[in-house]
Symmetry: C2
Subunit: 285 residues, 2 copies
């Protein structure tokens, strides 16, 4: 299901993801406006036809026209923004987001939201190693996962509308998880992997090894270029789940260390067979 063609979409926060959402919606014929405190971002987006209207302040007119508003801001500013500006929305407007961690924000927002508005969380698992609206590219959604993260308070209609965002933007797979399960999953498949990539780059004088790195090392460290403000915030917001995942990985690494130290070839081979079998499941997809 695609989004209704007649709705007006407002994007708050025009970075890489906000800009790529805008691009995706505009290319599908939607009316898109945006609010960002950075005047250059707004003028870039207007000039490059990513949006129809823009403002550098929480403009009451723009907000009032929106049927759907998507927050592509740093997590710590979304709740405040909504708190200060929710009176400007028209009744029935649906609010969503693109944040990488859910439990620490979704309940706060839902608890303080006007009863005639609805907040439904979503996580587009897409990105780039570069930032800013200037790098917007809705092609990053093409092979990516889009996860709707509903709570018990969300309505069927808002959940369906949220899925339709993912369909409209062309995500490869759309699924649904409650906040806690989402955060656990993300701690493993995204945050732990970024930490591993970082550690590979920082644990050794790897600048001298550039000449020798093959595909394996490059694959494992592609995501080691990391926006420190955004990711440190996401890590800290998901602290408990992430600590659990680091611990589980670290215990596994200790096991391999011990097997190697004790020259336990059979143990190593068994781990390798398990690893191979599990990874083969991925390649079937």
């Amino acid at each position: 299901m695609k989004l209704d063609k007649n709705i007006q979409i407002l994007i708050v926060g025009l970075g890489l993801i906000g800009g790529s959402y805008a691009m995706g919606f505009k290319r599908n014929g939607y009316l898109v406006s945006a609010i960002d405190t950075n005047a250059e971002s707004i003028s870039f987006a207007l000039k490059n036809d990513l949006i129809d209207k823009g403002a550098t302040e929480p403009d009451a007119n723009l907000i009032k026209q929106a049927d759907l508003c998507i927050f592509a801001l740093y997590p710590h500013v979304i709740t405040n923004w909504i708190c200060e500006n929710q009176h400007k929305f028209k009744s029935g407007a649906v609010l969503s987001d693109v944040t990488g961690v859910k439990s620490p924000i979704v309940y706060d927002i839902q608890n303080m939201l006007r009863p005639d508005l609805e907040f439904i969380a979503a996580h587009p698992m897409a990105g780039k190693e570069v930032y800013g609206v200037q790098n917007s590219d809705n092609a990053i959604f093409r092979d990516a996962n889009y996860i709707v993260v509903p709570t018990d308070r969300n309505t069927f209609n808002a959940i369906e509308m949220c899925k339709a965002i993912g369909e409209t933007l062309g995500f490869a797979r759309i699924s649904s998880l409650p906040p806690r399960a989402h955060d656990e999953m993300i701690g493993f498949v995204s945050q732990l992997t970024h930490i591993i990539a970082m550690c590979l780059m920082t644990c050794s004088k790897s600048e001298h090894l550039v000449d020798y790195t093959g595909d394996s090392f490059r694959d494992l460290t592609r995501i080691a270029r990391i926006n420190e403000n955004m990711w440190s915030e996401l890590f800290l917001l998901n602290k408990d789940a992430l600590l659990t995942e680091i611990k589980a990985f670290s215990d596994e690494l200790d096991q391999i260390y011990t097997m190697l130290k004790e020259e336990d070839a059979d143990g190593l081979k068994e781990k390798m067979r398990l690893s191979t079998a599990r990874r083969a499941l991925f390649d079937k997809q």
Copy 2:
């Protein structure tokens, strides 16, 4: 510099790498023969024009004709093979290999070798997630590193000839390192990365997460499909260097764990900036 067009090349061991070497040499017009105990591998290679002649035993005639002999066998069998068959080589023949670990084999071979033969070690850092001569493909060398691993006993001519193997096969970068430094480097950029990929697959019930894995997780686990016999042997042969690298990585991971636990955002950001800066050096290349 390419190899002299008139030399005859013998490959001992026709797996993925032996077969891909054969394919690369044949397509460059060299006369190539091969020895492998598996009759199917030999007949496949003959039928698909990867080799001109083949044998399933250490045929004295084939061995006598070789100017250059490359061993693409499991490490533990190379030394024995050479010990038992070195009397069949013609004087002046050059022997090389493709083994991923060097110190534990190169000195043993050089110590027992006939004085009129020369063994010069090399490591093509290329591979695939599939095995066997049937998957031979010399395109795997195109973006890869080729490392010549000379000892103090190697002659200038043999070192140049060994580099010429890499040039002839079309490797992207050819460099040179002594055995110990090679093994340290490989412990970090190749073996540690394979262990990390394995641990990511084995530490969690990741089969349930297939639907949610994005590019990051797939990149970090591409090499988690691993030939357990070859890799357990390579890990154990490079045990000391590899234990050191696992320890260094593990200590770094512990640091991140502690920073996260103590909510040390500045510490995390500093690690992220270092990681980003080092990884950026790679992307310049």
